[in-house]
Amino acid sequence: MDIRAQVSMVFHLDKCIGCHTCSIACKNIWTDRQGTEYMWWNNVETKPGTGYPTQWEDQEKYKGGWERDSRGRLKLKLQGRAGALTNIFYNPSLPTLDDYYEPWTYDYKNLFDAPEGDDQPTARAVSLVTGDFMDTLEAGPNWDDDMGGSEVYAANDPNILKSLSESEQQSLKNLEQTVFFYLPRICNHCLNPGCVAACPTGAIYKRGEDGIVLISQNRCRAWRMCVSGCPYKKTYFNWSTGKSEKCILCYPRLESGQPPACFHSCVGRIRYIGMVLYDADGIEQAARSPDDGLVDAQRALIKDPYDPEVIAGAKRNGIGDAVVTAAQNSPVYKFVKRWGLALPLHPEFRTMPMLFYVPPLLPVIAAIRDGQYETTAGMETAPADETGPNLNTVDKARIPMQYMASLFTAGNVDKIKHVYHKLVAVRMYMRSEQVGDQKEEDVQEALRRADLTPEQCISIFELTSLPTFEERFVVPPMERERAMDGELPPLDPYSRKAAGGFGFRDAPARRF
C-alpha cells in the first residue's frame, strides 16, 4: 500500500447558477497575461453544449486520455513513445486557437478620442493576438452559454451524438423539453494524468503531498503534446512565452491555508474541497478496468482515513497528522465514498480525474405543466394531485439518463440511476419530515432503493443545503515550510527552484 494525499473537490451541480464568478476570479489572478488571454483554467459550460474548446469531449478528434488495447493494456490514445518523437515537428491532434477563440479587447480609447461627428463613436473589437481590428466575432468563451436546445451548440454536444438515438435527440429540441445545466470545469489533477504521460520532456509532474499536477515552466520545451494528451483540454499553450500552462489549484493559496480562488468566489457555494487518501499502487490496475467498472474501481482507490493500516501507510510516506485529520473530516470523502453521490467526469478517459460532480436533479425533474414551469414535478405524466419528487421521477426524467451516464459513468445507466435514486430519496425523506405530504410507504421504498438510512438523508441534506465555510473547505495549510525546517533534515529552499513550479525570478517573457 502506497498511501498518498490528494486535494480533491466536489461540485454540487444542483447549486450551480452559471454565473461564471469562478472563471473571472481565476482569470484575474492567473491568466490575464499576454499569451494566456484565451485560457480559462476554470470555465463553466452549458450542457448540453459543445463546450470549450469546441467539442473537447470528442476524443476521435483530439485523441486525449488513455485507451485499452486488445490485450487490456493501457496506452495513450494520442500516440506511442516513438510516435511522440516522430510527431514532434507537427502534432496532428493539436487544437488551434480557433478551436478555442481569438481573444479580444475593445478600442475604448476611441470613445474619448474620436473627432466630433454625426455618429456616436464606437469601440471596435481588437485582437489580443495580432492587435488588428476584428470585424466579426465568431466565437468566444461561453459562446454556447444557456443554448440548451440549440441546433448549433446543444445538438452538436458529443455526448448527445454518442449516447442518444435520433428520436431522443429530436425530442430534446422541443421547446417544452429544452433543458440545460451548468458544468464548471477546472483541471482534474488526475491520478493517472494524460498530460504527464504525454509530455516528451517530462516537464509535468504530480506532487506527492497534495496531488496537484504542475508544469515546470523551466523544463517545458513547447512540444505541446500535453495539450493533446489531456482529454479535458485543461492544459493550454501560451503562444507568447512558448510554454504550456494549466490550473495550479492555487497552490500558493492552499499552502498558506486559503482555498483556491474559484472555490472562494463561488456564489452558489457549490464547491466542497477536502483531502482524500488514496492507494497509488492500485492506480494502474484501476485505470485498466472495463468501462462500466471504472467508477467503482476509482472509488476503491480512495481509502478509509480511519483505517489504522491506511493511517500507518500515510505516516510512512511522511503525510502529516493535520492532513490525516483533514481527510477524516473531508466533505469529498463523504460525497464520493460514504454516500456515493459524487461521480468523476468522463471516467472512460481513464485518467482517474480527482474532481467529482453530484449530478443535477432539478433539470432532470423540472417540466412545463399547464403552462407553468414546475421544478418539482415529474415529466408531463405526473398526476395533478401528486406534487414533489416521487418514485417515478427518475424514469420520467426530462434529460435521458443515457446522456447523464455518458457524462459521469462511462455509459453505465444503472450507476447514474442509482445516484439519482439517492438524490430523490433525500428529497422525499426531507419533504416527508418537513411538509408531510409524502406517503410513508413511498418514502420507505425510496430509501430502500437508494440504500440510504434516514440519518444519512439528514447528513446529506445538511451538507448540501446548510454547510458552513469550514465544512466546505477542509484543507490544512500545506506545510511547505515544514519541509525546510522541521523534524526532517532541512532542505535548501532553492534546491528545487529549477525543478518545479513557477519558481523563477526572471520575467516569464520571451527573450530570444
Binding site: 506511442g80 507537427y90 520532456t201 520545451r221 510516506n317 532542505l491
Partner: protein
C-alpha cells in the same frame, strides 16, 4: 585571411555555442523552448515543418557521418551507392529549401505568426535558407563534393578538433563551398542566441522514462511511476 575564416572563426563559433549555450541553460533555462507556433496556425505548418525538419535532419546526419567516419563515407561514396545518395541529397536539399521558404512565407503572410516572430528568427531562417540554397547548388554543380569532403573537408575539421589547424586543406575550394562553411559556422555561433537551442532539447529520454512523474517535496521513498507498454 584564411586563418581568420577557417581557423579563428570556427573556434569562436563553437566556443560561443558551447559556453554561451551552457551559460544560458544554467542561468535562463526558461528561454529554452522550440516556440512552436502550431497553436496559432495549423494548416500551412504541416507541409513546411514536417518536410523541413525531416530533410534537414537527414542532411545533417550525412554531414556528421562524413565528418566522424571519413573512410566509411569515402567507401560508400566511391561505390555503387554514389548515384542514389547524390540524388537523395539533391532532392533533400531541394525539399528542405522549398519547405523552409514555405515556412518563411507563412511567417510573413500570416498575421498571427508574424507578430510572434522576433528579429533573430528572421536572421536564423534567412541564413538557413541561404545555407540550403548553397548546399543545393553545390550538390548540383560540384558532383565530386562528396569525395572532397573525405579528402579535404574532414581533415580540415579534424585538424581543428585536434588543435593542429590546417586551413590549407580548404583554401583552394571554390568560393561557394567556402561560403557554405562560413554560413555553417555562423549558424553554430548564433545557436545560443536564438531558438536553435531546441536542437539539444530533443526529448529522446521519452523512449524509456516512466509515464508518470511524482515529485515529493521531501522524498519519503523513490518516486514511483509505472510503465504501461
Amino acid at each position: 585571411m584564411s586563418d581568420v575564416i577557417f581557423v579563428g572563426f570556427p573556434y569562436v563559433a563553437v566556443a560561443l555555442a558551447v559556453l554561451v549555450g551552457i551559460y544560458r541553460y544554467r542561468s535562463d533555462t526558461f528561454s529554452y523552448s522550440s516556440f512552436s507556433s502550431q497553436l496559432l496556425e495549423n494548416q500551412k505548418l504541416f507541409w513546411g515543418s514536417a518536410l523541413w525538419h525531416y530533410a534537414v535532419v537527414l542532411i545533417l546526419l550525412a554531414h556528421f557521418i562524413a565528418f566522424l567516419l571519413p573512410p566509411l563515407w569515402g567507401g560508400i561514396i566511391g561505390g555503387p551507392l554514389r548515384f542514389p545518395l547524390e540524388a537523395l541529397g539533391l532532392i533533400l536539399s531541394l525539399v528542405g529549401f522549398v519547405a523552409l521558404g514555405w515556412l518563411m512565407m507563412r511567417r510573413f503572410s500570416t498575421r498571427r505568426i508574424y507578430v510572434v516572430t522576433t528579429r533573430m528568427d528572421w536572421v536564423v531562417v534567412g541564413l538557413l535558407l541561404f545555407q540550403m540554397l548553397f548546399g543545393f547548388v553545390i550538390s548540383l554543380s560540384y558532383r565530386w563534393g562528396g569525395e572532397w569532403f573525405v579528402s579535404s573537408t574532414a581533415p580540415w575539421l579534424w585538424s581543428l578538433v585536434t588543435f593542429n589547424p590546417k586551413p590549407e586543406y580548404v583554401t583552394a575550394f571554390p568560393f561557394l563551398i567556402q561560403l557554405h562553411f562560413f554560413t555553417g559556422f555562423l549558424l553554430i555561433a548564433l545557436f545560443p542566441f536564438s531558438r536553435l537551442v531546441h536542437l539539444v532539447a530533443f526529448p529522446i529520454g521519452y523512449l524509456w522514462r516512466p509515464y508518470q512523474r511524482v515529485i515529493w517535496n521531501r522524498a519519503p521513498r523513490p518516486g514511483p511511476g509505472f510503465r504501461t507498454s
